[in-house]
């Protein structure tokens, strides 16, 4: 089986062994749950409940407001504690049973519009790290007939994270079914399930279920970071390059995370909204690393406790992977639709390095998946040379952090480049 890839990228220690073979455990939250109403993209959802109201698991608590927006459902039975502009907090009364759903018809009998409606109602958004874009919009391109490939992104190239791997291993049939549902929306599309070659057991499992599906192929990708980046993944599979002004649909592709596909299947086959997801808890500060099926809104503190707590107080706690994750100030944060991992480190390697002069070694250029010159772009950013930054395609940076990772002078290349990039995008 050919192993596909792109040029560039880095090979950080994967550290996946600790959690990749442990079955996921279900975590029942005990404390209050918090539901943010905003997405990374788009408009706030509009609350449809008031303080003091009773809700059960699966009750719609905030409704999509506008096109790029998404429904929010309670993940547990309880009483609405308060509603503000940013979030809804629900007091947990300890009942996890979901409110009864209307009986759904088999998906083969549903029209395209009915499938899309079910996905929209369920409040599904992109569930890979830092995605959060409403899935029903992604699935409604201008010309669905031009979509050739529906790509299930199971690369999981970030170190430590194994939740997609566990989904593929534990629920291969449901992932394939989810993909078949999406394929019904596109008449000319084939399904590709893209998995990195460090997850051979997942590849074998999934292949058992795709053998009889002529329109679904499993593709193996070379294990390196950022293999799961949308543009790099599309290139590896189709040899088509897209830039920052294009959508995957322009290359005839749609990319969906494994967890998103799973949520689509749950919504369409079982008629249930998106109220839980799988999250990896890992890092050397965690006593019992593992994967957990977590109700959305669960406090991260509870998640850490479920993983045995900390061995010692960590220096750094991340939401997401170590390459692009966000460092948390404290644990008082809920699990959201795009939280794929919580990672805690005893030692933060970043504060211990100090930046020195660029020695022009060219490593950042070698690893840049967008084929940019990070060291030059960082200089332009630091000096405020906006025109030079633009001329050298600074906008095409995919914000993967490979340049900062590899730099022997320990320069924070990605940081300054991303800041400049955000600035010029905001100007537009």
């Amino acid at each position: 089986m050919a192993v596909l890839t792109f040029k560039g990228g880095v090979h950080p220690a994967s550290n996946k062994k600790l959690t990749s073979s442990l079955p996921a455990e279900e975590l029942i939250p005990k404390g209050d749950l918090t539901f943010p109403l905003f997405l990374h993209h788009g408009l706030h959802a509009k609350p449809v409940v008031k303080g003091g109201e009773c809700v059960s698991a699966g009750t719609l608590i905030a409704k999509a407001d506008g096109y790029v927006s998404s429904n929010v459902h309670s993940s547990i039975a309880g009483i609405v504690k308060y509603v503000d502009f940013d979030s809804i907090v629900i007091e947990n009364i300890g009942d996890v049973n979901e409110e009864p759903r209307q009986v759904v018809r088999p998906y083969t009998e549903l029209s395209k519009k009915e499938i899309l409606d079910l996905i929209r109602e369920a409040g599904i958004v992109g569930m890979g790290g830092e995605e959060g874009y409403p899935t029903h919009i992604k699935l409604s391109p201008e010309d669905p007939g031009k979509i050739k490939y529906i790509i299930v992104n199971g690369c999981e190239c970030e170190p430590y994270i194994t939740c997609n791997n566990r989904r593929l291993v534990e629920e291969p049939a449901k992932i394939v079914e989810g993909l078949k549902i999406v394929l019904r929306l596109f008449d000319n599309a084939k399904g590709l399930i893209a998995i990195q070659d460090d997850k051979k057991p997942a590849v074998i499992k999934i292949k058992n279920f795709t053998a009889k599906e002529p329109d679904i192929h499993v593709k193996m990708l070379y294990s390196k970071y950022p293999q799961g980046s949308e543009r790099q993944l599309i290139y590896a599979l189709t040899k088509k390059e897209i830039n920052s002004r294009m959508n995957p649909a322009d290359a005839g592709c749609l990319v969906l995370n494994v967890e998103t596909i799973y949520a689509i299947r749950t919504a369409v086959v079982e008629g249930r909204p998106l109220i839980s997801r799988m999250v990896t808890v890992a890092g050397d500060a965690v006593k019992r690393p593992g994967n957990f099926i977590v109700r959305l809104g669960t406090n991260i503190r509870e998640l850490i406790e479920a993983a045995g707590g900390f061995k010692r107080e960590p220096e750094k706690v991340l939401i997401g992977g170590p390459m692009t994750g966000e460092a948390l100030v404290d644990l008082d944060r809920p699990v959201t639709k795009d939280t794929n991992a919580v990672i805690a480190f005893l030692h933060d390697p970043v504060v211990r390095v100090h930046q020195t002069n660029c020695i022009h070694c060219g490593r950042c250029i070698e690893v840049c998946p967008a084929r940019l010159i990070p060291t030059k772009l960082a200089d332009y950013s630091a000096l405020g040379m906006v025109d030079m930054f633009r001329e050298n395609d600074g906008r095409e940076c995919i914000e993967c952090g490979s340049c900062s990772y590899i730099c022997p002078a320990k320069r924070s290349l990605a940081e300054v480049i991303v800041m400049m990039k955000q600035m010029i995008i905001d100007e537009l």
Partner: protein, 315 residues
């Protein structure tokens, strides 16, 4: 657990590769040790003294500069040691100590620190200092003593039409600069650099290939056929191997793009052979690298890669 504990925050990525500037410099120093050790074995205590003088002067002048200019003291990155060591290996073992001191100060103060320190210089400090010394002290820089007898370097012998012993040249039992005589010692260090992934194979490979092609064509025209001994002697002699593996590959002063590195290496090869065959034999490699250094930024500019997805159009 302390509820009020605040964790450290920083921008991504939150992990970093092990490689660091000082580790890279240490690797270069380790790679140069076989050649340095052979130089001391071959030429005796004077070689050792010159090596020590050059590295000490380089470190000291960088330290003094940083102190006087109130800059952060960056001796820890060990780049001054590399400069001193490479300069020493390029000097004839009989050179007066004060000339070595002048060369070292020139390398660090004029070529490196005046332009902003590590990474900012546009010429390799050691190579520039060697050229500076070649011009300033031509006689002293071209006096080679081997086994207590003043003797010509193999390159000078070749130029005069004499015969050379290839095996001795490979092992290094010949006259020449401290670190350039033993091809074997230089190759051992080069293998280490490749294993540690410090240098790109392109620069040394295409540099040496260009020399092979140039010399072959030259000998076909002037001698009516390829002369294997003549060719091999050119490859093993002078500073070619030292230059190709350790000086031309300097990160700061060579292009970063893969195709740029090939162009740069070919230019170095052409210049080296032209200087050797038509000019004076001494210092050809250093002069070629110096000119190559000046061209590097231009080469980099014209060999810039196409950005991912650039020119892709909507279908």
């Amino acid at each position: 657990m302390d509820e009020q504990k605040i964790f450290r925050i920083s921008f991504f990525p939150h992990i970093r590769d092990k490689a660091s500037t000082s580790r890279i410099m240490l690797d270069v120093i380790i790679a140069l040790l076989p050649a340095a050790a052979f130089g001391v074995y071959n030429f005796g205590w004077r070689a050792l003294l010159l090596i020590l003088i050059c590295t000490a002067t380089c470190m000291l002048s960088e330290l003094l500069w940083d102190v006087c200019m109130r800059r952060r003291i960056m001796l820890r990155d060990m780049s001054a040691v590399v400069t001193g060591l490479i300069l020493a290996l390029n000097l004839p073992p009989t050179l007066d100590w004060w000339a070595a001191v002048i060369g070292s100060v020139f390398a660090i103060v004029v070529v490196k620190m005046l332009f902003g320190g590590l990474g900012q210089n546009f010429m390799n400090p050691a190579v520039a200092a060697k050229c500076f010394l070649m011009i300033s002290f031509a006689g002293r820089m071209n006096t080679f003593v081997f086994q207590n007898v003043a003797s010509a370097t193999p390159l000078e012998v070749l130029k005069a039409g004499g015969n050379v012993d290839l095996l001795q040249m490979f092992l290094g039992n010949t006259s020449g600069a401290i670190g350039e005589t033993s091809a074997l010692a230089l190759l051992i260090g080069a293998v280490y650099l490749f294993i540690r992934r410090i240098i790109d194979f392109r620069i040394p490979l295409f540099y040496i290939l260009t020399v092979v092609v140039y010399i072959s064509i030259y000998s076909m025209i002037t001698r009516g056929g390829i002369d294997g001994t003549f060719l091999a002697a050119h490859l093993l002699s002078g500073g070619l191997l030292l230059g190709a593996f350790y000086m031309a590959t300097d990160y700061v002063t060579s292009p970063v793009s893969p195709s740029g590195r090939i162009i740069y290496a070919v230019i170095l090869g052409l210049l080296t052979c032209t200087f050797r065959l038509f000019g004076s034999a001494a210092g050809s490699v250093a002069y070629a690298i110096l000119i190559g250094n000046l061209l590097a930024p231009l080469i980099e500019k014209v060999t810039r890669r196409k950005t991912f997805g650039k020119g892709a159009h909507l279908k």
